[in-house]
């Protein structure tokens, strides 16, 4: 009996602290609590998974998506895609809605840093199982260009996004109004 209990306890502990780094080819970003993570999962609409409100096509891009990891059935929240341009992963995950996939990327977050123990995911590449081609999680800027064809000009998308620029024009970069911005900018530069 003692041996059975010990074995079961070890199994439970291992399941709670599984190492998903094996097989990962993810690039390090030097993030807090960063761990490379390569695993099988099902792509889900988070609101559907949690609330039972399930539109077709995972909300067609209007909802946040996540991954239910095959190894431990954990719902992994995906915060970021593979581009260093302030972009999430909905556009990258959406073509795989409801599918079983393999993903490679980074788990991040450190409890000592944020007070929250769970890690979040940054996805760098995805492929449908069993034998789909790998896709890089870098589709956001292409999708943005298609959505805002008139937002031409120099610089990255976030400098040209009309929604953001309208808010900056109204509230300033600090969000406190143009007067607060002017005083800050005089000191900042």
């Amino acid at each position: 009996m003692k041996h059975v209990l010990t074995a079961l306890l070890l199994t439970a502990t291992a399941a709670g602290a599984q190492d998903f780094a094996e097989g990962s080819e993810a690039n390090s970003w030097g993030l807090i609590g960063e761990e490379k993570a390569f695993f099988e999962a099902r792509v889900v609409d988070l609101a559907c998974e949690l609330t039972g409100d399930c539109p077709e096509d995972c909300g067609a891009g209007a909802r946040q998506l996540g991954l239910v990891r095959a190894a431990d059935d954990q719902l992994v929240m995906v915060l970021k895609n593979g581009q260093p341009v302030f972009s999430g992963a909905v556009v990258d995950l959406l073509p795989f809605c409801g599918m079983d996939v393999e993903v490679d990327g980074l788990l991040v977050n450190e409890e000592d840093w944020t007070g929250i123990a769970t890690k979040f995911y940054q996805v760098q590449r995805i492929r449908e199982l069993p034998d789909g081609e790998w896709t890089r999680a870098n589709r956001f800027t292409t999708a943005w260009e298609e959505e805002f064809p008139d937002a031409a000009g120099e610089g990255p998308w976030f400098r040209r996004d009309p929604r953001i620029n309208a808010l900056i024009e109204r509230d300033g970069y600090l969000g406190l109004g143009q007067e607060a911005d002017a005083a800050f900018i005089e000191d900042w530069f």
């Binding site: 009996m1 059975v4 209990l5 079961l8 306890l9 199994t11 439970a12 399941a15 709670g16 970003w29 993030l31 807090i32 988070l46 609101a47 949690l50 609330t51 909300g59 891009g61 209007a62 909802r63 946040q64 431990d72 059935d73 954990q74 719902l75 929240m77 915060l79 970021k80 302030f86 972009s87 999430g88 992963a89 909905v90 556009v91 991040v108 977050n109 450190e110 944020t114 929250i116 123990a117 769970t118 979040f120 940054q122 976030f158 400098r159 996004d161 929604r163 808010l167 900056i168 509230d171 970069y173 600090l174 969000g175 406190l176 607060a180 911005d181 800050f184 900018i185 900042w188 530069f189």
Partner: protein, 151 residues
């Protein structure tokens, strides 16, 4: 056999916290709308630096880019926002941008699964606007947010 059954029951009990608890609970919670990627990844620095006026424009960029928004309470809890006031959309939503960095009291349904808190906001009960004026301490994060003025 009895011992084995007890062991299996014990294992189930030990494993229980790892499994989802998705039954919703109505709550009212106060906090700041934040950019969760910068908060959890440390990519821009300390958690205190990636909120408030110091991080406002970056928070707009990230929300517009589809990065999930969270509600950060004074106790350090983060509620990941799933929906906002009955809207069907979140990933790319003008209302979300309007609220970014604001201090809100939100009423809605709280779900918790695998260590993460989620919130379906049914009503924004109160909005105090951007109250976390931390730019005097942190400047702007990242530093290139404000383009250098032309000569």
């Amino acid at each position: 056999m009895k011992s084995t059954s007890s062991a299996i029951l014990l294992l189930a009990a030990l494993s229980a916290p790892l499994r989802a608890e998705t039954t919703p609970e109505r709550i009212q919670v106060e906090g700041e709308f934040i950019d969760t990627w910068c908060y959890f990844s440390g990519v821009m620095g300390a958690p205190e630096a990636v909120q408030g006026s110091a991080h406002h424009t970056c928070a707009l960029w990230c929300a517009a880019g589809g990065i999930p928004v969270g509600l950060l309470t004074e106790e350090g809890e983060v509620y990941m926002i799933l929906k906002l006031e009955g809207e069907g959309v979140l990933a790319d939503m003008d209302t979300l941008l309007e609220l970014q960095s604001d201090r809100l009291v939100a009423d809605g349904l709280h779900y918790r699964r695998d260590g993460i808190d989620y919130l379906v906001v049914e009503t924004v009960v109160d909005n105090s606007g951007l109250t976390n004026e931390n730019h005097d301490e942190w400047g702007v994060i990242p530093g290139f947010v404000i383009p250098e003025p032309a000569e």
